[in-house]
């Protein structure tokens, strides 16, 4: 779930922006280099950005919270293009969703980048690499990336919400309550994201293995 415009206090919005812009900047430097060396990777970059946009716009109502959760798509992008490039793509998808559907926001963009673009990409990619190192197959490793990236995203979002809305309660208590509220919808979504990520990555590996970056796929 994306944090909407206006929810975060000004100082928290600014605080999330700082690390988000650092990740985005680093991702853009890497992506610029990649596009200069490999101009033919433009379609893959655009396609993954659009995939993240579509996948993270599939809302599922969260009972009792009055909000929605959704898959992320960033773990799959991180497997195919690396976590820093996936961070850029997730950031762009979040910006377009904010503009087209008010899903997310401009001042909350930094917080959303940290949770979905950075958290989803890096956690998913780490899970993928660790699974590969543990000797697991491509499909299972991609599935692990999907489930871990998805749950880490929601862990961070719950923390951000807890920090903004904890009121007179402690942040850990509200964090736990928010994360627990998401679990009934998020666990099935994480499993679905795992199956989808695994299925698509294996399908690509079988049909067009040259799209996959060998360095990223190696354990």
């Amino acid at each position: 779930m994306h944090i909407p415009e206006g929810l975060l206090p000004a100082e928290q919005a600014a605080a999330w922006y700082a690390p988000a812009m650092a990740f985005l900047g680093a991702g853009l430097v890497g992506l610029k280099r990649r596009l200069a060396v490999l101009p033919s990777s433009r379609p893959l970059v655009g396609l993954m950005g659009a995939f993240i946009f579509v996948i993270s716009l599939m809302p599922m109502p969260v009972p009792g919270l009055g909000t929605v959760s959704h898959p992320c798509g960033t773990p799959m992008a991180a497997i195919l293009l690396g976590p820093l490039t996936a961070t850029v793509l997730g950031s762009v998808a979040l910006l377009l969703q904010a503009l087209f559907f008010a899903h997310g926001g401009i001042t909350s963009w930094g917080a959303n980048i940290i949770s979905m673009a950075v958290g989803g990409s890096f956690a998913g990619f780490a899970a993928f690499k660790l699974s590969r190192r543990a000797g697991l197959g491509l499909g299972i490793s991609a599935g692990m990336a999907g489930v871990v990236g998805d749950l880490v995203t929601y862990g961070i979002t719950s923390f951000q919400i807890a920090l903004a809305l904890h009121g007179d309660e402690s942040v850990p208590y509200v964090w736990g309550a928010a994360f627990a509220s998401f679990l009934p919808t998020q666990v099935p979504l994480a499993i679905a994201e795992a199956l989808f990520t695994a299925g698509v990555v294996v399908f690509i590996a079988n049909q067009r293995a040259e799209i996959l970056d060998g360095a990223l796929m190696r354990p």
């Binding site: 919005a13 992506l31 659009a50 503009l99 926001g105 809305l165 009121g167």
Partner: protein, 255 residues
Amino acid sequence: MTESSGNNDNYAWGDSFLSRIDPRVKIVAVAGLLAVNLAGASYLVSAAIATFMALLMVLGRIPYRRQLLMIAFPFTFALFAITSQAVFKGSDIVASLGPFDFHLDGFYHGLFLALRIIAGGLVVVVLGVTTPLNRLCLALRWFRAPATFVEVVQLTYRYLFDIHAEFSRMHEAQRSRLGWSSAGAGLASSRMLGGSLFLRVYERGLRSSEAMRCRGAGNVVNGTLSPPGRLDLVAGITVSALIGCLIVLALGGPA
């Protein structure tokens, strides 16, 4: 989804006065309004912004269905803010439900947050609905946004339409051949469908990308924005005056 995005652009290219305002003016105005909305921390400031933006949406003849669709997400989150604050904030208990106590002061704070969310949401909605993405990208480049970032925005937007087109084609083909036998069968085939969709859009994109390169297309947004005109000046002065009033309101009005 992409159809809605397409409608966005269709409206944005329309003949409304909101669409004709220079996107650079809009970006500065939106940044100012969002900053005041957050930093003002006042019911009155958020209410004034929400009213102004709602008025703009009506005057700009943004279709009501589009308005409702776009405000749905901020609205659900506004309800969440009210509920969560009523539970987590305050000491004046007015009702209890199981382990949760509802507090009146928390409820009022939740209402303030809800108003701020709706006001901020409306500001973003007006920018998004009334500005074609191409002009927004030109404005971003004018503000020195990194060329790679703007290029990725354009690529992503463009591939949304490709995904929509290929998905519709595959969906129709599957329905005409097999129909949707069951949810289980649909789920089982979704991975293969997802992979096929990915490859089909990728190959289509690869072909058009190569064709564009052969024709000498550049990588960054093409075109220029014309210099701001009278309408832009009026819009800039109006929003500046509004922001000035809001700052005065925030400094002197009730928190």
